[in-house]
Symmetry: C2
Subunit: 411 residues, 2 copies
C-alpha cells in the first residue's frame, strides 16, 4: 500500500470509528433498557441538552445528539489535518432515499429549506402574470422565493386562508381547488404547517396539480424525522426540507428532492463545474464549490440514529407526547388549542392561546423556568407553539403544563 | 440575573474561553520564540498537519489551525446543547473590514467564492447580447455563473488570453482595454489567478471600468490571508473571496464585498425574511435561513490568528518561501516556471512544467512522498502548481525541490 494511501485510510478509519462506536453503544443500551420509559431515558441521554432545560422548539432547530456532534468534529479535524474524508454521495442518497421512500438520484443537499425553495423558484421559467398559489401558513423560508419572483418578474402570488383548526383533508384540498385559475402555474404548500402542525393533503394536491399541468412544490421542512414520509406516494414535483430540524442533523443541513423530469431541466441557481452537464441529473445541484462536508457526515450519523431507534417508533412517541400535552392543555381554563386534534390532520407542532395572556409574555415567563418555546407571530396569529420530540420526557410535558396552568391562573 | 440568562451566559463564556485562551498561549509562544526560524516553528505547531506531510495546496483549501477547529467545535457543542451563541455580525464585519480595508457594511458571508459570484451574476439585470469580458485564467467557480447567464439569458461571454508569464501590469490592463466593445457591461477578473499566481492590476481595471460605466467584478479567492488587500483602493463593484483558502477559515466560508450603490440595488439570489428590506443594505444577503454559524465563529478565530502573526509578516514569509522555491526550481534542468517572477506581478501560486514529465505523473510521485500538490489541467495548461504558506518550513521547500529534481533526472 502506498504511504499516502495508508495515511489517508488510517485517518478515515479512526475518524469513522469514534462516532460509529458511540452509536453501537447507544443501540446496545437501547436494547438493554427496561420497559416503559427506559428506552426514552437512553434516548434523552444521547443528547447534550442540559438536564434542567426543557427544549420544546425542534420546530425551529433540532438539538444534535452526541453521535452527530462527534461525526462533525471528527470530519472537521480530518480536514484540518489536510486529510479530508471524501463524502460517499451514493451511500448518503441511498440512506435518505430509504427513509423517505424516494429515488436516491433525486436528492440534493443545500444548506436548508430556504435555499432549496430558492433553487426551485429560480430554476423554473415563470413569466410575468404566471400565478403561484400558496397559503397564509407558509414560513418565510418557503414564501420569500415567490415574493422575489413577484417583485422581479411580475409573477402573481396569491396566499390563501386555511381553516383553523382544519376539519378534514378534503376541506384543505378544496381551498386550492376553488382558487385555481387559467394562469395557475405553481402550487407551493407546506407538508406540515409551521404555524400549527396542520398536515396538508400533499398527495391529493399533487395529484390535482398533475391533472392540470401545474407544478407542485412542497415545503417539507418538518416531516422528515417526525413522521413517515413517502415521497413516491406524494409524487410532487419538488419536496424541500431541513434535516437540521426533526432529524437533528447539523445546523445548516438542507434537502431537496426533485422528480425525474426536473433533474435535467431545472436551471441551477448557483453555478459551478458541471452545472450544464445534464448527465449528472440532480447531482448538478450538489456542485456548489468547496463545501463544508462535515454537515453531510453529521447528516449520515443523524440518519443512522433515526434508523437505530426506528422511524415508526419515533413518530408514535411524538404523537404520544403531543396527545399528552394537548390533554393537559385542554384541562387549563382559558387555553384554546389552534392545532387540529385529529392525528391525521395535525402532528408535532402544538399551537394555542391563553385567554388574557399574550403569547410573547407567556414565552418570557416560561423561559425564566428554562423552557424554550416559539411564538408564531407571523401573519398576526400570536400563538404559543410547542414542539415535543423524542428527547422530551413525560415529566417535562407535565412540568410545562403545570407552568402554563400557573401562568393562566388556572391551577 | 435570570436563571436562563445565567445558563446562556455561562455556556457562552466557557465556550469562548477555550479557543481564545489557546490563542493567548500561541501569542505568548510566538513572542518567546528564538530568532530565525523559531516563530515559524511556533506557527507550524499551531496547525494539525501531520509532521511528515508536506502540504502545498492552500490554493485549493487551507488547513485549519487548532484555534479555528476549537472555535468550530465549541460552537457546534453549544448549538447541540440548545444554547446557540449569537453571531456578532457587527464585530465580524469590523474585523474583516480592518484586515481588507473595506467598509464593514459592505460584507456578506456566503459559503464560498462560487456562491458569491453567483450572487453577483444573478443579481444584475444583464440582458441578451450584453457582453461579459473575462480571461482564460478564471477558475470554474468564477466563470460558471457567467456561462449560466450566457446559456439562459443570451449574455455574450468572451474569455481573453493573458500573457504567460506576464511582463507588466500595463500589458495586463491592455488585454481588457483592447477587447472593450460598446456592448461590454461587465469585466470579471481574478485578483490573483489560480493558474499561476499572476497579480492582475485590479485597481487599474476597476478605474477603467468606472470611466466607462462598466461593472467590475473581482474574483479574489486567493489574496485575503496571503497578501495585503485594500478594497477601498481597488474600488471594484464587487469582490468575492474564500477565507477557507489562505485565511485558513473553516471549509465552506466565503466572503462577498459590494460597493455602497449595490447594497440596496442588487437582487438577492436566495430569498429569506428581509430580502426586500433595503434598509438592511448588504446584510440582506446574510439572511439565508438557518445557517451553520460555527463557520463564522471559525472565521473569527482565523482572523484573530492572522492579526496575531501580522498580515504583513505573513505576506513577507509567503514571498520568502516563494522565492526560495522558485530559486531551487530554476536550478533544475528542464523546469520551466510559468508564474511571473517579479513580485509585483506574481505571488503565492507557483506554476511550472518539467520537460519530459507530465504534471499529473509528477503529482502522483510526489503524493507517494506525502506531498500534496495541485495540477492546473484547466484550459489544457497541464501545469504543476505549488502554493506554500506560513506552516511550510524551509526544510519542506528544500525537500520538495530535491524530490522534483530527482524525478526530472536533474540531480
Amino acid at each position: 500500500m502506498k504511504r499516502r494511501d495508508f495515511l489517508q485510510r488510517s485517518a478515515l478509519t479512526a475518524g469513522t470509528l469514534a462516532w460509529s462506536s458511540r452509536l453501537d453503544t447507544f443501540v446496545r443500551d437501547l436494547r438493554n433498557a427496561s420497559a416503559g420509559e427506559g428506552p426514552w431515558d437512553v434516548v434523552r441521554a444521547a443528547f447534550l441538552i442540559p438536564g434542567d432545560r426543557i427544549y420544546l422548539n425542534v420546530g425551529t432547530l433540532g438539538p444534535q445528539p452526541r453521535v452527530v456532534v462527534d461525526a462533525v468534529v471528527e470530519h472537521t479535524r480530518q480536514v484540518a489535518m489536510t486529510l479530508p474524508p471524501s463524502t460517499d454521495w451514493h451511500a448518503l442518497k441511498a440512506r435518505v432515499g430509504t427513509l423517505l421512500n424516494g429515488d436516491p438520484e433525486g436528492f440534493v443537499f443545500p444548506r436548508n429549506t430556504t435555499e432549496a425553495m430558492s433553487f426551485i423558484a429560480n430554476g423554473l421559467e415563470l413569466q410575468s402574470d404566471d400565478e403561484v398559489l400558496t397559503t397564509l401558513h407558509e414560513h418565510v423560508g418557503g414564501l420569500s422565493c415567490w415574493e422575489l419572483l413577484a417583485a422581479r418578474r411580475g409573477v402573481r402570488l396569491r396566499q390563501l386562508e386555511l381553516p383553523v383548526p382544519a376539519g378534514s383533508s378534503e376541506e384543505l384540498t378544496d381551498v386550492f381547488r376553488r382558487a385555481l385559475t387559467s394562469r395557475t402555474r405553481v402550487i407551493s404548500v407546506s407538508h406540515v404547517t409551521f404555524t400549527n402542525g396542520t398536515v396538508m393533503p400533499v398527495a391529493d394536491i399533487a395529484a390535482m396539480c398533475r391533472e392540470r399541468g401545474i407544478i407542485c412544490v412542497v415545503d417539507g421542512a418538518h416531516p422528515p424525522g417526525m413522521v413517515r414520509v413517502d415521497l413516491r406516494a406524494i409524487d410532487a414535483d419538488f419536496y424541500a426540507s431541513s434535516p437540521h430540524k426533526w432529524l437533528c442533523a447539523p445546523q445548516g443541513t438542507g434537502l431537496l428532492y426533485m422528480r425525474d423530469e426536473w433533474r435535467r431541466r431545472l436551471w441551477p441557481t448557483l453555478a459551478s463545474g458541471g452545472w450544464n452537464d445534464t448527465s449528472l441529473g440532480a447531482h448538478r445541484f450538489n456542485h456548489l464549490g468547496t463545501l463544508d462536508e462535515s454537515r453531510l457526515a453529521g447528516l449520515d450519523a443523524a440518519l443512522r440514529l433515526q434508523e437505530a431507534i426506528g422511524p415508526d417508533v419515533i413518530e408514535a412517541r411524538i404523537r404520544e407526547l403531543d396527545a399528552m400535552l394537548v390533554a393537559r392543555l385542554d384541562d387549563i381554563p382559558g387555553v384554546r388549542i389552534m392545532s387540529p386534534q385529529d392525528p391525521s390532520l395535525g402532528v408535532g407542532l402544538i399551537a394555542f392561546t391563553v385567554a388574557g395572556l399574550e403569547s410573547i409574555e407567556l414565552q418570557r415567563r416560561l423561559s425564566q423556568a428554562n423552557v424554550r418555546t416559539r411564538v408564531v407571530s407571523e401573519y398576526g396569529y400570536g400563538w404559543m407553539r410547542l414542539s415535543p420530540h423524542v428527547y422530551n420526557t413525560e415529566g417535562e410535558i407535565e412540568r410545562v403544563a403545570e407552568l402554563i396552568a400557573g401562568e393562566s391562573g388556572g391551577m
